[in-house]
């Protein structure tokens, strides 16, 4: 049986309904909310500020640090142990790597920009939602950036390449692959590429191409959210 009809009735390259808002956390220098279906991410940016421990300081430029956190009841309803774990550590690291190429902190040596991402509710694609929210929050904080980062997970479910997988598709009883991709808008460079599952070379290339295409739509939504913060009428 071939996977032709998606479990939630979307088209193959259709994204989940996306909602984005900027400036949601008043105490942060910049903040953003990014919701994709049932995955919800809040990002808050603090800094540039003094970096401790001091041995991490770079006298040539400021650095960025990401903290990714899934809240205890964010998943299927089962409580997960709060706080950091190996998975969160890995995702924090890949997020930092995905955002590093775009930020330009050469004017702020020895400093750090901290990006905290909290996910109160999750349904697959959390690292992509986190990257989208973090990218918007950085722009909102007025950090010099060379580009915007948009991310989406594409993959193959039972022989069909689809965009923006939900958890039910990731857990589909067949061969499934899940490939989160982060793409820069102007250069189309890929700054995050991970893979889980099994996929053929041809399908992988198609999945990445699909990701590069659908991130355009995400970028439009991110851009609109940033403009809306200032265009809002009272």
């Amino acid at each position: 049986m071939v996977y032709t009809k998606r479990v939630d009735g979307r088209k193959l390259d259709e994204l989940r309904p996306i909602e984005a808002k900027v400036g949601v956390i008043p105490n942060a220098k910049g903040s953003a909310m990014f919701r994709s279906g049932h995955t919800l991410a809040y990002a808050a940016v603090y800094g540039p500020r003094e970096l401790f421990p001091k041995h991490l300081q770079n006298p040539k430029k400021g650095i960025i640090r990401c903290y990714y956190n899934m809240m205890p009841f964010s998943g299927s309803g089962e409580r997960i142990r709060p706080g950091g774990n190996r998975r969160a550590q890995e995702i924090s690291m890949v997020m930092t790597n995905a955002l590093n190429p775009v930020v330009d902190l050469s004017a702020f040596p020895n400093t750090v920009v901290d990006i905290f991402v909290e996910l109160p509710q999750t349904d697959a694609g959390t690292r992509c939602a986190a990257i989208c929210a973090a990218s918007m929050a950085l722009a909102d904080a007025g950090i010099p950036m060379k580009d915007m980062v948009s991310a989406v997970a594409c993959g193959e479910v039972d022989g069909t390449v689809v965009a923006d997988l939900i958890y039910d598709e990731e857990a589909y009883d067949a061969i499934v692959s899940d490939i989160p991709v982060a793409v820069l808008h102007n250069s189309k460079e890929v700054t995050l590429l991970q893979m889980d599952g099994e996929i053929s070379k041809e399908a992988l290339l198609r999945a990445i191409q699909m990701a590069q295409k659908v991130t355009e739509k995400i970028h439009e939504i991110q851009k609109k959210a940033l403009k809306d913060k200032y265009a809002r009428e009272e």
């Binding site: 220098k29 910049g30 800094g47 540039p48 500020r49 003094e50 970096l51 006298p59 400021g62 330009d104 004017a107 702020f108 040596p109 020895n110 400093t111 722009a139 909102d140 904080a141 007025g142 950090i143 010099p144 950036m145 060379k146 580009d147 915007m148 808008h185 102007n186 851009k223 940033l226 403009k227 200032y230 265009a231």
Partner: protein, 245 residues
């Protein structure tokens, strides 16, 4: 206003543009580096940021908090990632004896209105307090705003800040780093001034800000000017009162 919205929008490079701020070039295209307003004045294109960190510049008057006392002066928190040094020789005209207790002159926790006299490539900052209009604050309160909104809080030729000053009777000093020191007759006046400044920060990108401010102040019962509080610190020779120490 000849400004238009832009966020990382592609701008075609034209022959007559020769200066750019907060932008970068890739091939023959210009991209904005910061979320802001695009303005073209003559041959200059500039992105006016809507938010962003304060970058210390020589000549800026800032309001900072003293966080430490060193052998030769004070360490001042500038509200950025970098703290600044206020040397004894730049803080007072008076002769300071070697064994003198510096905390008697300015103690930790005090707010000072100072000017930046030197910034290095690594953003090490030197300050002075020896010019007119620079002093150690006494009383009042300090509020923080987005440093990019400081020009709007001050207004054209200081119109906005003098309106708030005269209607609330407060003495207000705006630091370029976004710290603002307010001292008035009563806490109510100070809070009203603080609220007015926050309003400017929030609505800074709208037209007719001064009219809006007039309305806001009228709504809060101040339609006429209030006699200003007497100056907290004498403009010059502010160090005389330490003579007895």
């Amino acid at each position: 206003m000849n400004a238009m919205w832009s966020f990382l929008e592609k701008l075609w490079l034209k022959e007559w543009i020769f200066f750019l701020e907060n932008t970068y070039r890739d091939g023959n295209k210009i991209y904005a580096k910061i979320l802001g307003l695009v303005g073209a004045a003559g041959r200059v294109i500039r992105i006016t940021p809507l938010s962003g960190p304060y970058v210390p510049r020589v000549g800026d008057k800032i309001v900072g908090k003293v966080i430490d006392i060193t052998m030769t002066g004070w360490r001042v928190d500038t509200g950025t990632a970098y703290s600044a040094l206020l040397n004894v020789k730049d803080a007072t005209t008076r002769y300071i004896k070697k064994e003198e207790d510096l905390s008697k002159i300015i103690s930790v926790g005090d707010y000072v209105v100072v000017k930046i006299i030197n910034v290095t490539s690594q953003n090490l900052i030197d300050l002075t307090m020896k010019e007119p209009g620079l002093f150690k604050t006494v009383g009042g309160r300090v509020i923080e705003i987005n440093n990019q909104k400081v020009p709007r809080v001050i207004g054209k030729q200081g119109s906005m800040i003098s309106l708030i000053k005269s209607r609330t009777g407060c003495e207000i000093t705006v630091g370029q780093n976004g710290n603002i020191w307010i001292r008035g007759h009563s806490p109510e006046n100070e809070l009203l001034a603080a609220k007015a400044i926050k309003l400017v920060e929030e609505k800074s990108h709208y037209e007719g800000l001064t009219e809006r401010m007039e309305k806001f102040l009228a709504e809060h019962g101040t339609t006429a000017d209030i006699t200003p509080v007497e100056q907290a610190a004498p403009e010059e020779n502010s160090n005389e009162r330490y003579e007895e120490n």
